[in-house]
């Protein structure tokens, strides 16, 4: 599975799951799937220690989160020991429930991080840049320039460092960076000027300000406020249809305006992503998974998703259907392209 769309859908499906549940069974299952998928991709790129590195990160995350939650939250039925109440903030009961809650938080954060990390492994940098919407073409150009010149700037920095070393400069204090930074800065900016001449000579047009773009941006701001208010209203328990409206109107307005702005740039693309059977399979699989999941969730069919260790620790419930959703994190392994 090499095309970007199926992977984006996989990301969305996994995110939707991770953000909807605190059930440790589901989370652990999902995590396992993530590690398996990540390992497969890392092997392709000959990064052998990926699993170890990320396992370490995950455990650190869980530890940190557990610690924080235990120290600052004092609710829960099973008290392990107590710190004197007079101690600011940390004073109070240290409970098992808050430890578990903290650990679950850590798992979620780690899983979120892993999901994005896997996306980075799956897609090349070029694919990621291609995903940037057309409305941001100039900003994407900046990214392209920076990425193209990053290696040559490093190379140049090395040359400058060597030349200054031969001149006797010892690289000990921070001030010793100055003889490297200044020539590097000047040379790079001179090059930038040449580069911009080269771009202009080849027909790169700058965006000209127009009344349309101004209006579009004002529209986008309003749409953003719509979405924001929708969110606030959910928290104040306004009727669902109001929040739906706000989200829907705000969201679609935003997307439409973005697309319109993108049309201002008449840029075409030479390279087409090549799609295989596995890409089509992946797209179908993950998009349907996403839709079904959201539908079930909204109709409150999936109670086992929400889980809370408070007040007293109790084992989590599970539904077989949910297990399937959780395991979707490892489906890419079956869609692995052979090359």
């Amino acid at each position: 599975m090499t095309a970007s769309l199926p992977w984006i859908l996989w990301l969305a499906a996994n995110l939707a799951l991770l953000l909807s549940t605190r059930n440790p069974i589901y989370l652990l299952l999902n995590l396992t799937g993530l590690f398996l998928t990540g390992n497969m991709l890392a092997q392709k790129r000959t990064q052998t220690s990926w699993v170890q590195q990320n396992l370490r990160f995950l455990l650190t995350m869980i530890l940190l989160s557990t610690l924080i939650n235990t120290l600052f939250s004092h609710t829960g039925a099973t008290v392990l020991f107590s710190l004197p109440e007079t101690w600011p903030l940390v004073g109070g009961d240290i409970t098992l429930e808050s430890m578990v809650y903290g650990a679950i938080n850590g798992v979620i954060i780690g899983a979120l991080y892993l999901t994005f990390n896997i996306l980075n492994l799956a897609l090349s940098i070029k694919q990621i840049i291609r995903l940037i919407p057309r409305a941001f073409y100039p900003a994407a150009m900046i990214v392209t320039v920076a990425l193209t010149f990053f290696p040559s700037i490093q190379e140049r920095a090395r040359e400058i460092k060597e030349a200054q070393m031969i001149r006797g400069s010892k690289m000990k204090k921070v001030t010793d960076w100055l003889p490297i930074l200044i020539p590097l800065l000047v040379t790079s900016l001179e090059r930038a000027f040449l580069l911009s001449e080269s771009m202009t000579s080849r027909g790169f047009h700058a965006h000209q300000e127009s009344r349309h773009s101004r209006l579009a941006i004002v529209g986008l701001t309003l749409a953003a406020f719509c979405i924001f208010s929708g969110w606030v209203f959910t928290m104040y328990d306004y009727p669902k249809w109001v929040t739906f409206c706000l989200f829907g109107v705000g969201g679609s307005f935003f997307l439409i305006l973005l697309i319109l702005l993108g049309r201002q740039t008449r840029v075409t693309h030479f390279h087409q992503e090549s799609w295989h059977i596995k890409d089509i399979l992946g797209t179908v699989l993950f998009s349907s998974s996403l839709i079904v999941f959201i539908a079930l969730r909204l109709s409150n069919q999936l109670e086992s998703l929400s889980y809370s260790p408070y007040m007293a620790l109790s084992p989590p419930t599970f539904q077989w259907g949910c297990l399937l959703f959780c395991a979707s994190s490892l489906f890419p392994i079956f869609l692995k392209s052979n090359d």
Binding site: I160, R167, M199
Partner: protein, 545 residues
């Protein structure tokens, strides 16, 4: 057809115009060489042709300019950029992407061209410049010559009427330069492209040129055929210089056009001078069987080198032969096998600090060294690093040798290219090292600046310093070298006298050597001084040809 009438241009916030009253007419399908000393306005003139001046640079412009029926001044860069392709001097600075194909296609993507049409144009451009083999390669990995061809291909996809090139061969070695010019001439012939090229090293271009536009330092322009303009020019390649002295008309533009030369009897009898290799004292620098690799690739293979006091040893080779790697290995910056000795001591065991007391190193880009507020500060920085000190007065005296005494308090970045290089040279020699390493010091320099550098190096040599000069500019090397080392693919191909090196190895022959084979002459001065002295001696009248 390009018509220019009374063009005058001044950059913003400058006191003098960069171009004054330029008028000329360039016929379609011709190749015009734009030349002149540094600062005469060549780059500015070229940028007028595609609208970068004045639209990109700002400034004030007057006069009439017609490029194939368009007026860049009123129309702006967008329309003109489709008609005029521009290739810049520094290959790397003009590329946005890291894959060859992506770069070529950039202007078409910007124009919103449909995909099928893009394919046609891209394939055509790749074929025209011979880039099929490297189509999907990473731009950082291809050679300098290939990079410039890529730059041309990126311009060709627009099907332009004209190609403008700003010193395209300045960073290339002689072989790649010749290859590039062959392609350009072919484009001119097959596509009817009008080509305007600026260049310092005229010898590379003269064989291909239809017209010359010569810009003088006082901003006047001489335009015409080579035969018309060359006599007016102060700095000309050896071929022309010799032909002028020998009063050969019409001036031959290539070596093959030079008439058969009958060496005067006296020379045939007495034999020709050859520079003798230096007497063997103890070498200051000795390298035995040096091998080095960069990553997995072996770059140097069993290189032997000796550098003696008071000599200039020139290292020549094509780009990529390993010359810079050799310098870095000598200094210990990269690991290497083999023995290195500095004044008899093993360098592997020495601290970098001790090594650099004896050695000054000028990198390929002298700007890499300049970072201080004033020229004096640059010198003080080096002195401080070596724990030495000199009074300001002593430094002023030191600087006057470089012609920089009046500029000692100026910001180095404000100086001209030649002045900046001399500042860098001063900064690396202020601690009076005995050995000097110079890496390609003549990039982008006109004849004047090269002459100043030659004098400076000769001056050092007489004082007993040793100089290791790395370059692919054989004309420059020929004027200076006591001994030559030719490197090819990391191996030493030849060590010996310049006379042999620059006349017997294809790719490294100087123009003079090709004109007068078996003579041992490698520079125009060799030839002319010999001729004059021998002519006077023999008082033979048969030299007035």
């Amino acid at each position: 057809m390009i018509k220019i009438d009374s063009l005058t241009f001044q950059y913003p916030q400058t006191s003098q115009p960069a171009l004054k009253n330029i008028s000329l007419e360039i016929p379609s399908g011709s190749l015009t060489l734009v030349t002149g000393p540094t600062g005469s306005g060549k780059s500015t003139f070229l940028r007028c042709l595609n609208g970068l001046v004045p639209h990109f640079s700002g400034g004030t412009i007057t006069g009439e300019l017609q490029i194939f029926g368009h007026d860049p001044i009123s129309e702006g860069t967008e329309t003109i950029s489709a008609r005029v392709g521009f290739v810049f001097q520094e290959p790397e600075a003009q590329f946005l992407f890291d894959v060859v194909e992506d770069e070529i296609v950039f202007s078409l993507e910007n124009a919103g061209m449909p995909r099928e049409q893009m394919h046609v144009r891209v394939n055509q451009a790749i074929r025209q410049m011979g880039l099929e083999g490297i189509r999907n390669r990473n731009i950082h990995e291809i050679s300098g010559g290939e990079k410039q061809k890529l730059a041309i291909a990126s311009a060709l996809v627009n099907l332009p009427d004209m190609l403008v090139l700003d010193e395209p061969t300045s960073q290339l070695d002689p072989a790649s330069a010749k290859d590039l010019m062959t392609y350009i001439t072919r484009l001119k012939r097959d596509l009817g492209l009008t080509v305007v090229v600026s260049e310092h090293r005229l010898e590379r271009l003269l064989p291909f040129v239809d017209f010359i536009a010569y810009l003088t330092p006082d901003h006047t322009l001489h335009f015409g055929t080579p035969q018309e303009v060359l006599p007016e020019m102060a700095q000309v390649p050896p071929l022309i210089k010799i032909a002028k002295e020998m009063k050969i008309t019409p001036l031959p533009l290539r070596v093959d056009d030079f008439p058969e030369y009958e060496y005067p009897a006296i020379l045939r009898e007495k034999g020709f001078p050859k520079s003798a290799p230096k007497q063997a004292q103890n070498p200051v620098l000795e390298i035995n069987k040096l091998s080095a690799s960069l990553g997995k690739q072996q770059v140097l293979d069993q290189v032997d080198l000796q550098l003696y006091p008071g000599e200039v040893l020139t290292l020549v080779g094509t780009n990529g032969a390993g010359k810079t790697t050799l310098l870095r290995s000598i200094l210990g910056l990269i690991p290497s096998d083999g023995e290195r000795y500095l004044l008899g001591e093993k360098m592997g065991a020495m601290d970098l600090e001790n090594i650099i007391h004896q050695i000054g190193y000028l990198p390929q880009n002298p700007n890499d060294l300049l970072f201080a507020e004033t020229v004096l500060d640059e010198l003080q920085f080096t002195l401080k690093n070596h724990q030495k000190s000199m009074s300001d007065e002593a430094l002023t005296v030191f600087l006057s040798k470089f012609g920089l005494a009046e500029m000692q308090n100026r910001y180095p970045r404000d100086l001209s290219v030649g002045e900046r290089q001399r500042t860098a040279l001063a900064a690396i020699t202020v601690h009076k090292p005995g050995i000097l390493l110079l890496d390609e010091p003549t990039r982008g320099m006109d004849y004047n600046a090269k002459r100043k550098l030659t004098n400076l190096l000769r001056d050092w040599r007489t004082k007993g310093k040793s100089i290791l000069l790395v370059t692919h500019d054989v004309e420059f090397a020929a004027g200076l070298a006591d001994r030559v080392l030719i490197i090819e693919h990391g191996k030493v191909r030849f060590t010996g006298s310049p006379g042999a090196a620059f006349s017997e190895f294809p790719g490294f022959e100087t123009q003079t050597a090709r004109l007068f084979p078996h003579s041992g002459w490698i520079t125009a001065e060799d030839c002319l001084s010999q001729l004059k002295s021998e002519i006077n001696l023999s008082k033979s009248p048969d030299q007035q040809s």
